[in-house]
């Protein structure tokens, strides 16, 4: 079967996104030979159509807002307008610099063979690309995800679009409907509002960012209301019709909303169709690849990482899983990843950040009477006052036990999640954090204050 131009590797990786390239880089460090197969661009969704471009837009949005509100800080400035060509070239510049860096890392490794082209699993240990077969002692499936739609909701890329289209829009629409109040939906709603768009979010679940702690959702809704971002929660979508100037969306109950365009942000589905996974006997569930906690599929030596594995769809989860799988294959026996310990940040304004369990989940797990919470209001935090932001740091702990959840909302709180991540994953007790008085005046002081309070010794707050 082996043809002259076929090749064998320690690992063959199908997909060069966050999960795939992290696997490749770590494996190469461990001196394993790798074939990394990518049909689009190395870096995948996150770098080209996800994390990076959205955060560039959000930063441009922050700048627009700060300019608009600069007088509150004594700075006289006039916002002339948002120039989408300029925004896009800024965004593309960021992507291309990071893309170059990533290409350098992959191409600079003698252990990685980068294969450009669409691959298909043709045997449990073999991926074929353009007629050439790449055989691995191990195979890692990392083909990522795509923007889903709903039945009867057709994406035309013009008036009914997904994040892929929204990221390359060459104009600022006058109005937009965002279908879906999850992470991607609220981020786009936030950007557009800052750019001057009249935005309405439609969400079927009873609250925005429903995966977050309920208090975070409430606070985000309050903040969005203040920003005049419209939203309708608990309202399933019924249909969309084209109008002369855009779209008309009908929601449960018959209410309609009109706008220039409709962004469909109802989640991402696994990109696994027609890739040979089922044919080779990989157990799947609704398109997702099932694995055990060591990321092994049911087929020996076939692993899966990233968005195709049920769970959080986050780039750094892909990184962590990729590193894990490389180390597993190398025999390093890495520790199993605690999914709840993966930090979650939503970069809208205000930002949301969390790690560990929500209050509800903690009560379910430990019993309602065993769970204590503390909510430190950013009103008492000097730096937050300086930024003129509101919000909180909420801690969830087990009585006489460690902190099992941290939930934050407010401008820039995403950067505080690193500390919270250590606290959760290292099972720190409030008193252990409280002992270390935080730098004044920072926002991370709020995290310190919350722990002081929960440890029974509040400094700038009441117990």
């Amino acid at each position: 079967m082996s043809e002259p131009n076929d090749a064998t590797f320690d690992i063959v990786i199908l997909g060069g996104g966050s999960g795939g390239y992290a696997t490749a880089l770590r494996a190469a460090q461990l001196d394993l030979s790798v074939a990394l197969i990518e049909k689009g661009k190395l870096g995948g969704t996150c770098l080209h159509n996800g994390c990076i471009p959205t955060k560039a837009l959000l930063h441009a949005a922050e700048i627009a807002d700060q300019t608009r509100e600069s007088e509150q800080f004594g700075v006289k400035a006039e916002l002339v307008g948002v120039d989408m060509a300029g925004v896009n070239s800024y965004k593309d510049g960021v992507i291309s610099r990071l893309y170059k860096g990533l290409q350098g890392l992959v191409n600079g490794s003698k252990n990685i063979t980068f294969v450009a082209g669409a691959g298909k699993l043709v045997a449990p240990n073999t991926v074929e690309v353009d007629g050439k077969r790449y055989t691995g002692r191990n195979v890692v499936l990392a083909s990522g995800s795509y923007a889903k739609s709903l039945p009867g909701l057709e994406i035309d890329g013009e008036r009914v679009i997904t994040s892929d289209h929204a990221l390359v829009l060459d104009r600022v629409p006058s109005s937009a409907i965002v279908l879906g109040g999850g992470v991607i939906g609220v981020e786009f709603a936030s950007v557009w509002k800052s750019f001057g768009v009249d935005v309405t979010i439609i969400e079927a679940l009873p609250r925005l960012v429903a995966a977050e702690d309920e208090e975070s959702s409430k606070a985000l809704e309050r903040a969005f209301r203040k920003r005049k971002i419209n939203f309708k929660v608990g309202k399933p979508f019924e249909k969309v019709e084209k109008t002369d100037n855009g779209v008309k969306v009908t929601i449960a109950g018959g209410e309609t909303v009109e706008a220039e365009l409709l962004l469909v942000a109802v989640g991402r589905g696994p990109n696994t169709a027609n890739l040979g996974y089922e044919e080779q006997g990989v157990t799947m569930d609704r398109g997702y690849v099932l694995t055990d906690e060591r990321l092994r599929t049911n087929v020996p030596n076939v692993f899966a990482v990233g968005d195709i594995v049920p769970g959080l769809q986050l780039a750094h989860r892909g990184f962590q899983q990729g590193i894990f799988v490389a180390e597993e294959i190398a025999g390093l026996n890495p520790a199993v990843i605690d999914e709840a310990g993966i930090p979650r940040v939503t970069y809208c304004d205000p930002e949301l950040a969390s790690v560990g369990l929500t209050e509800a989940k903690a009560k379910e797990q430990y019993g309602a009477d065993k769970v204590k919470t503390y909510n430190y209001n950013l009103g008492g935090n000097g730096k937050s006052q300086i930024l003129k932001t509101t919000g909180f740091v909420k801690l969830v702990r087990v009585e006489d036990g460690p902190v099992v959840g941290v939930h934050m909302i407010g401008a820039r709180v995403g950067e505080l999640i690193g500390e919270a991540q250590l606290i959760y994953n290292w099972e720190a007790y409030p008193a252990e954090v409280a002992q270390l008085v935080h730098a004044h005046p920072t926002q991370n002081e709020a995290l310190g204050e919350a722990h002081l309070a929960l440890a029974g010794k509040p400094l700038h707050s009441h117990a």
Partner: protein
């Protein structure tokens, strides 16, 4: 306004020698002996123990104030791993 004479008698008063004789045997609130009965180990060491499947409460610490060190955990883990592990 002022004081309840019965206020918690401000304790300790041995005029401390300038270089305080470090009370080497009294556990302090140093993140080692934490309120709430946490085991005597710094948080990252506790995480290491969890990753390696070591029960901290079963160990005797060899570190300062009887705290459990990484070495204690790794030694215990090695003991565990000596048993046949299914691969």
């Amino acid at each position: 306004v002022p004081t309840q004479a019965a206020a918690p008698a401000a304790p300790v008063v041995a005029p401390a020698p300038a270089v305080a004789a470090a009370p080497a045997t009294v556990p302090t609130q140093n993140g080692r002996a934490t309120a709430g009965g946490a085991v005597l180990a710094k948080p990252p060491v506790r995480k290491l123990a969890r990753d390696l499947g070591v029960d901290l409460t079963a160990l005797t610490g060899s570190g300062p104030l009887g705290s459990i060190t990484r070495e204690d955990v790794q030694r215990a883990a090695a003991g565990v791993a000596a048993e046949p592990t299914p691969v």
